[in-house]
Amino acid sequence: MSDAKTRMLRRAAREITPGMVVNLGIGLPTQVVNHLAPDLPVCLHTENGLTGIGPTLPPERADRNLIDAGGAYVSEVPGSAFFDSATSFAMVRAGRLDLTMLGAFEVSETGDLANWKIPGKFSPGVGGGIELAQKARRVVVLSTHTDRAGNPKLLTACTLPLTARNRVARVFTDMAVVDVEPGGFVLTELAEGVSVAEVSEATGAPLRLPDTALPRF
């Protein structure tokens, strides 16, 4: 794992504070779990019907009936509970998730999120992402700052079909932490070795700077 990615995951992990109920989306967000303090009192939720996710298990130790929503074989912790898919999303829609961390294709400066469809290229269905994005009390995005071709993912407006409007509060990338404020994107932290100019260039929308010094992560 690259150093920048590790730092991004570690920084995102600090977003999770004691007592929270958290859903980590498929992909990068799921990896945040490896950067949480072992004694942190937190409840991890997966939409296929489990609260209290324990460590991921290798095939030889896996329970064939115990996976997370991404298909990884996981384990229980003391106090886990299993439930059906309706109950699982009842938790989501009724606002019982304090936080969800999701991947993104695009995030707009008004907090719109596009992460489920690229017309003509990628349309596997929305799965549970729309309910997480629309209903978790706090939605943050964890993503590379640009796509593989180097195009910015943080934009003035999304071009792809939306997952949810005005819901993203913060974006963690390999370059920076960017908050979505009423006036647009605000750069709040910088990755080690990255300059403000580099982040600005990699961002497809104006990026305001705070009055104070930018912390590094």
Partner: protein, 230 residues
Amino acid sequence: MRLPEKICAMEDAIAQIRDGDTVMVGGFGVPGTPMTLIRALVAHGARDLTLVKNDANEPGMGIDHLLQSGQVARLITTHLGLNSHAIGLMNSGRIAVEFNAQGILAERIRAGGSGLGAVLSDIGLGTELAEGKQVVQVAGQDYLVEPALRAGIALIHAERADPFGNLTYAATARNFNPLMAMAADQVIVEVEEIVPLGALPPEAVHTPGVFVDQVVPLGTLSGEYAVVRR
């Protein structure tokens, strides 16, 4: 990872309740009625409450104490047949009563607990229970709109809980408890026995702790929970 803990003193839990609050109360008859939380709410004294409960228990039992103390302005329920005192309050206009079909009350609460706006149902179409309700056509059929119900507070009785608030209910004491435990901003649970994290098999949990805010241990059960001799 370890799960957060939510064990709380009864007074602290009940102190959250404010005048004018909507309070859901579990139970169908005696089983599942949180008798001790109800007594604490009487002692706390919050007034002008809207209660949501399947029934009004019997005179001198359960939520009848809240009716006796004049703390209830409105009751959303299904059947008052066993409480002549509650019927008297209703008939004399001292409490407002809204009757729901029992399963529709259950669905309205569950909808509130599931982040839905309403359910559409044909129960009561063509009867006076449909009067005043919004009607929607879906695929050529008429349905009544049964809006989701939520509350500020839910008072729940469980048989066992762990410190995270995973709950199990005994026998027919389950009834409305798991539904109301989904549908309130603050879910307060009185429990007969607290067991350690991990002692409830994860497959056997009736209400996942994610829905629960405060877990209040009961000591020795009062006589109100006992078999009623009629």
